[in-house]
């Protein structure tokens, strides 16, 4: 079955590959981009570094500078600065988003904001000049930030987390009564304990559930230059704000909760100084998009409808909208098949009929081969 999906997907990818050099930033998905800096670049970086320590971060930067004898021409990094440092007030519960005081539990809705990530990329590409002519070779730099400003979990999820945590600690208490056991022996004994493994698995499953309410923010900017300080100019600036509401459709006794009704409300602004018009001229645009999406999610399968109203703040182009339906099937953690149908922005060539295939690569340094990041 997987092979069939892969074959169909590859064929579709080949026939749908974009053949134009200059394109508008694609922002079809209402969810906040995980690495907003990369979305503003026309060409995807071939490799994304994801350092988790200051040492790895500095090594990554220095190696790249050394390889390129200066500012690297093709480099992308995505990191969360919070995890570079020790935090004495961090504990499992406040990391999960709440605190337990005696019999009372208090949600900390703003606690996730500190885990925000920064994305940075430099890449060399061809860019159309302000007048009609041959494309220029320019260096592009993009910098972005994203975080969850606000998050609320359901009371049921918090109760289940507290229960699983208490079971874990009770078991830990039983296994650590004898302080004369050597630390290495005890560490391996705890690691091998099946009961603790089950508690950890349970906690992990609950944490994977969607929060009831979350407000995500992302912002990014990109600039280009051609080895001359005066040539530095702003290309694109964007900001995204999305409110997600997830209502579980499972019964309380269901252990693995994967069925949701999701509602998304989104607002985003994108200023682009390098849009190539149909007449071959470059123009500037600032779009304000406001819209929403309703999605029914049943484990690996989901069906959704989204509506996005676009207001062009700079040109006299009439305001327009995008209205589309989407079906998604997650065949595995690495394979996502989608089908979209609807109306795109604009008044011409605005029918959306698309079947897509996403291959996820779970590694520290991700390889991105797609020509365009959406």
């Amino acid at each position: 079955m997987k092979k069939l999906f892969i074959t169909i997907g590859l064929v579709l990818l080949i026939f749908n590959s974009p053949t134009y050099a200059q394109k508008e930033v694609a922002l079809e998905d209402l969810q906040i981009p995980s690495s907003p800096a990369f979305i503003l670049l026309d060409v995807a970086p071939t490799s994304i570094e994801r350092p988790t320590t200051t040492k790895a971060f500095s090594t990554s930067i220095l190696n790249s500078i050394k390889e390129n004898n200066g500012i690297p021409e093709n480099y992308a990094v995505d990191f969360a600065p919070y995890w570079f440092f020790k935090h004495k007030n961090l504990n499992a519960m406040n990391y999960w988003g709440f605190e337990q005081k005696l019999l009372e539990r208090v949600q900390k809705p703003f606690s996730q904001a500190r885990f925000g990530s920064i994305s940075f990329a430099t890449i060399k590409s061809k860019m159309t000049s302000d007048t009609i002519g041959t494309p220029l070779n320019v260096n592009n730099i993009a910098l972005g930030f994203r975080t969850t400003l606000f998050q609320l979990r359901s009371n049921n999820d918090i109760d289940e987390l507290i229960k699983a945590n208490n079971l874990h600690l009770t078991r830990l208490d039983e296994l650590t009564v004898d302080p004369t056991i050597s630390p290495s022996k005890l560490a391996n004994l705890l690691e091998a304990d099946t009961y603790l493994k089950n508690c950890n698995k349970r906690i992990s499953e609950i944490l994977n559930r969607k929060p009831t309410l979350a407000l995500d923010f992302a912002g990014a900017g990109s600039w280009s230059y051609d080895n001359n300080y005066n040539s530095i100019k702003s290309n694109r600036v964007g900001a995204w704000l999305t409110l997600n509401y997830a209502q579980t459709l499972d019964k309380p006794m269901d252990i693995n909760k994967n069925d949701y009704l999701n509602l998304y409300f989104t607002c985003r602004v994108l200023n682009d100084n390098n849009v190539l018009g149909n007449n071959g001229l470059v123009y500037r645009s600032t779009n304000l998009d406001v819209g929403g999406k309703i999605e029914f999610e049943f484990d690996k399968f989901s069906i959704s409808y989204e509506y996005l109203y676009r207001n062009d703040l700079k040109s006299n182009i009439a305001d327009n909208f995008r209205s589309s339906g989407l079906i998604k099937y997650r065949a595995s953690d690495q394979l996502l098949v989608t089908a979209t149908f609807g109306k795109n922005f604009g008044n011409t060539n605005n029918v959306i009929t698309q079947i897509g295939l996403s291959l996820g690569l779970n590694s520290k340094s991700q390889q991105v081969n797609a020509d365009k990041i959406q």
Binding site: A92, Q100, L169, P179
Partner: protein, 134 residues
């Protein structure tokens, strides 16, 4: 390496303070080891974290001549992404403190040889030992 704390007078009331910073599940226990080799449990952290907030562990007369073993267990197993474990182990913050004795408030940080990781890095144990002297 075992640290040392001067208690002073027999009637001094000694308290222990532990602050653990980690996103793993943590638990701390304070044991007293008597000169004969026997031990007893003096304090345990709460369910919220591996912290112990100024827990009274005894008068000077009960403690002088013995040593404390403060054992903190951190389990990172609830963090499904195992590639994070080594970095999370490096970023564990742990401060141990004793108060009420001749030395007043004394805080200790752990040395690298006080810390032990399980074979996969999922479980971290920090053992802090403190001699209690007159």
């Amino acid at each position: 390496m075992r640290k040392s704390y001067k208690i002073g007078r027999n009637e001094n009331q000694i308290s222990v303070n532990v602050i653990i910073g980690t996103k793993g599940i943590a638990q701390t226990k304070v044991f007293q080891f008597l000169p004969g080799g026997q031990y007893k449990l003096l304090a345990v952290s709460n369910a919220q974290s591996g912290n112990i907030d100024n827990a009274f562990i005894g008068n000077g007369s009960d403690l002088i001549g013995s040593y404390l073993k403060i054992r903190t267990i951190i389990d990172l197993g609830s963090i499904a992404d195992v590639t994070q474990w080594p970095q999370l182990s490096d970023c564990v913050s742990a401060k141990f403190g004793l108060s009420g004795g001749f030395l007043g408030n004394q805080s200790y940080s752990f040395d690298e040889d006080d810390k032990t990781d399980s074979s996969s890095g999922q479980v971290i144990i920090i053992d802090m030992e403190v001699n209690l002297t007159k």
